[in-house]
């Protein structure tokens, strides 16, 4: 229960559709979604496979709580080998697609091979069909969504699609569902493009049964009460969204600015949650229209924005005058502070295009910021950029870059490689602010020390969602730790990594953990499905998942040497703020972290650790 116990396996090369039982033994060991699908992927692919070859597979996976009455229970993840990193990729998305897929009677979708010609997939309960996508190949996510719904005369479908960037294998292409919710990171959209798969439309009419209905109802109601009564999840996130962090992180001196040259951005207020709430000087209207919830979510942190129609980015483009997904903190930072741009409307437009063309705004913004530094140093010129004056602070340049990268045209092709490949090509790989090839999110690890260890050891390359120690180091959740100290951080990072791996495997949103602990989550999981789920069992599963992902990466060719940070963060001290004069103390944290993990001094999980965890 919590499961349909059914997997859909589609071989795109052969055009075959097979139904398989879900491996329930693995579901006990890996819970679901991130953990369970990673187990399937690792069992089925060669770790050294080229991520964009037909031999790579991709899995769309739900958790036991996806599609149930649990708050935020609408999540799904895409698991594959990522082309940006060459490491395991697992990108999580909200919206409605995951729950609808589960309502169609499936737990997981495994895609293999490569279609001979562009196709899209429809899943209407048991009716699963591949269709010719030649009419929508070369078009955007938004057009594709509309076209499929019209073609099938079903406005209730939920569609996950790639844009032109995914088709052309921009290495940080995303899969976007419900127009502006994305499995965003590590280039999962490029893998879908490499398989000639444009979209997956789902429609389900079945419910999701749970193991013990009465207990489940009580556990989920208790959980919702905790979320409603908690000031962060009950008021802070719905009103201000994640964007409220813009001024917090800037004030704390951990705001990566101009490709991490600085740690505070003078324009942060102009692109913050507070600014989104204020009437614009130009037209007296607010950027933010309302908030929005994903399926079953009682937090509703999503932003819905509308751009000033006279802003240069959308002037004479009425197709962008409607309300759509607004800026989240990560996007606002990557597109704004990190490029030195304080134009809220321009950032909102660029975010719209990232959704419309299916691109990760974090990696896109961070790659543009690296290109801006190369331009500043004279290593990139207008000859390379096709005439774009790529100066820090130029909203016009950013707008041109997103339009070109979304279609992988001109200089956009270079930007589509991501920051590491771009900086390497122009002779300065040290200027790429990445780990394992993936761009940093919005926290400078000189000002938040634990995040340095988080990034360095993340199994999918630099990422905040693998262990969000910002929660403790800055926000004081569950308890406050000193962001400038390295002491105690290895244990903190390990605990966050393991707990998050379990939450990511359950079918719920990680933002619940601002209010919920595993004590709140385990009873909901346990009432939904078999397994005797306790907080301890969930931590054990989280640790198992972490080690399994690590082993895959090692077999793919990574070593402990890849648990590193760019030289800038280890040798160029922060210039201002509380962290002034400091670098990240990774070398102080890493050995202790390896020890706590039960890994060798080189970062290899020992046989003892692997057998303790039954990996």
């Amino acid at each position: 229960m919590g499961w349909h116990r059914k997997i859909l396996r589609i071989n795109l090369s052969k055009g075959t559709v097979d139904v398989e039982p879900l491996n329930m033994e693995w579901a006990q060991q890996y819970l679901g979604q991130r953990g369970l699908a990673s187990k399937y992927l690792i069992n089925e692919i060669d770790p050294k496979v080229d991520p964009l070859s037909p031999d790579n597979k991709m899995i769309f996976a739900t958790g036991p709580l996806t599609g149930t009455a649990a708050s935020t229970g609408g999540r799904y993840s895409v698991i594959t080998k990522g082309p940006l990193t060459n490491a395991i990729a697992c990108s999580n998305s909200g919206g409605y697609w995951g729950a609808e897929f589960k309502f169609a009677g499936w737990d997981m979708l495994i895609l293999e091979g490569k279609a001979e010609k562009p196709v899209y997939l429809t899943i209407m309960d048991d009716k699963v069909e591949l269709h010719d996508a030649s009419e929508i190949w070369g078009t955007t996510v938004w057009h594709t969504d509309d076209w499929i719904k019209t073609k099938h005369q079903d406005p209730m479908m939920h569609i996950a699609a790639i844009g032109v960037s995914g088709e052309k294998e921009v290495l940080y292409s995303a899969i976007v569902n419900d127009l502006h919710r994305a499995a965003g990171r590590s280039g999962v959209g490029a893998v879908m493009g490499s398989k000639n798969l444009k979209a997956i439309a789902v429609r389900g009419t079945q419910g999701v049964a749970v193991k013990d209905g009465k207990t489940f109802l009580k556990a989920t109601m208790d959980g919702k009460k905790v979320l409603a009564e908690n000031a962060v999840t009950g008021q802070g996130l719905p009103t201000y969204g994640t964007q409220v962090l813009m001024n917090v992180i800037n004030e704390a001196g951990a705001m990566p600015t101009r490709n991490h040259r600085d740690v505070q951005f003078e324009g942060s207020h102009d692109i913050s949650a507070e600014a989104m709430h204020e009437p614009r000087k130009t037209d007296g209207k607010k950027n933010l229209l309302t908030n929005q919830a994903c399926f079953g979510c009682t937090i509703a942190c999503g932003r819905i924005s509308k751009i000033d129609e006279n802003h240069f980015s959308v002037k004479n483009k009425p197709e962008y005058w409607h309300a759509s997904g607004g800026l989240e903190y990560e996007a606002a930072w990557a597109l704004g502070s990190n490029t030195g741009i304080d134009d809220l409307e321009a950032l909102t437009y660029v975010n719209f295009i990232c959704n419309e063309q299916g691109m990760d705004p974090i990696s896109f913004g961070a790659t543009v910021s690296a290109a801006m530094e190369l331009y500043d140093l004279g290593l990139l010129t207008t000859e390379h950029t096709g005439g774009i004056e790529l100066k820090f602070g130029s909203a016009e340049a950013l707008v041109k870059c997103v339009e070109l990268t979304g279609k992988a045209e001109g200089f956009g092709k270079e930007l589509g490689m991501g920051s590491l490949r771009l900086c390497t090509k122009y002779g300065r790989p040290d200027l790429s602010m990445t780990v394992k090839g993936q761009e940093f999110p919005a926290y400078d690890s000189r000002g938040i020390q634990g995040m340095g260890l988080t990034y360095a050891t993340s199994n999918r390359g630099a990422c905040h969602l693998r262990s969000y120690t910002v929660s403790s180091e800055i926000l004081g959740i569950p308890e406050k730790t000193d962001p400038l100290a390295t002491e105690g951080k290895p244990a903190l990072v390990k605990a966050f990594q393991d707990a998050t791996a379990a939450v990511d495997s359950a079918g719920i949103c990680v933002f619940t953990t601002f209010a919920w602990t595993l004590e709140d989550i385990a009873p909901q999981v346990d009432a939904a499905c078999e397994g005797g789920w306790t907080p301890d069992r969930m931590m054990e599963v989280g640790e198992r998942i972490w080690n399994m992902e690590r082993m895959f990466n090692m077999q793919a060719g990574f070593t402990g040497k890849d648990d590193n940070l760019p030289p800038r963060l280890l040798s160029e001290p922060a210039k201002t703020g509380p962290a002034e004069g400091r670098v990240n103390g990774l070398e102080k944290m890493l050995p202790e972290y390896y020890q706590l993990r039960g890994w060798t001094a080189d970062g290899v999980p020992t046989n003892e650790t692997l057998s303790r965890l039954a990996v």
Binding site: G236, Y468, G476
Partner: protein, 83 residues
């Protein structure tokens, strides 16, 4: 002496009229502590979840002990989070 008071999110309504971009330079008595400044602007103490003085966190127990100097910046948020 002058200090900068920054009140964010729902606390913005407690800022003086001359505030701009959620901050205002305010004149206060020499030797004022963080808690007294918060009280002076009638910001409910229980709403002051995150208090940073020059970017450094001050726990509730430290606020009345933290004496401000001219030019210090006090930034305050209600319970918020993101990611």
């Amino acid at each position: 002496m002058d200090v900068t008071l920054k009140l964010y999110a729902s606390l913005g309504t407690y800022l003086p009229d001359h505030a701009h971009k959620n901050e205002a330079v305010v004149s206060v008595d020499d030797g004022i502590n963080v808690e007294a400044l918060i009280d002076q602007y009638q910001v409910p103490r229980k709403e002051c979840h995150l208090v940073l003085v020059n970017g450094v966190f001050k726990a509730p127990g430290q606020r009345s002990q933290t004496v401000l100097k001219a030019g210090d910046a006090v930034a305050v948020w209600p319970p918020v989070a993101g990611g």
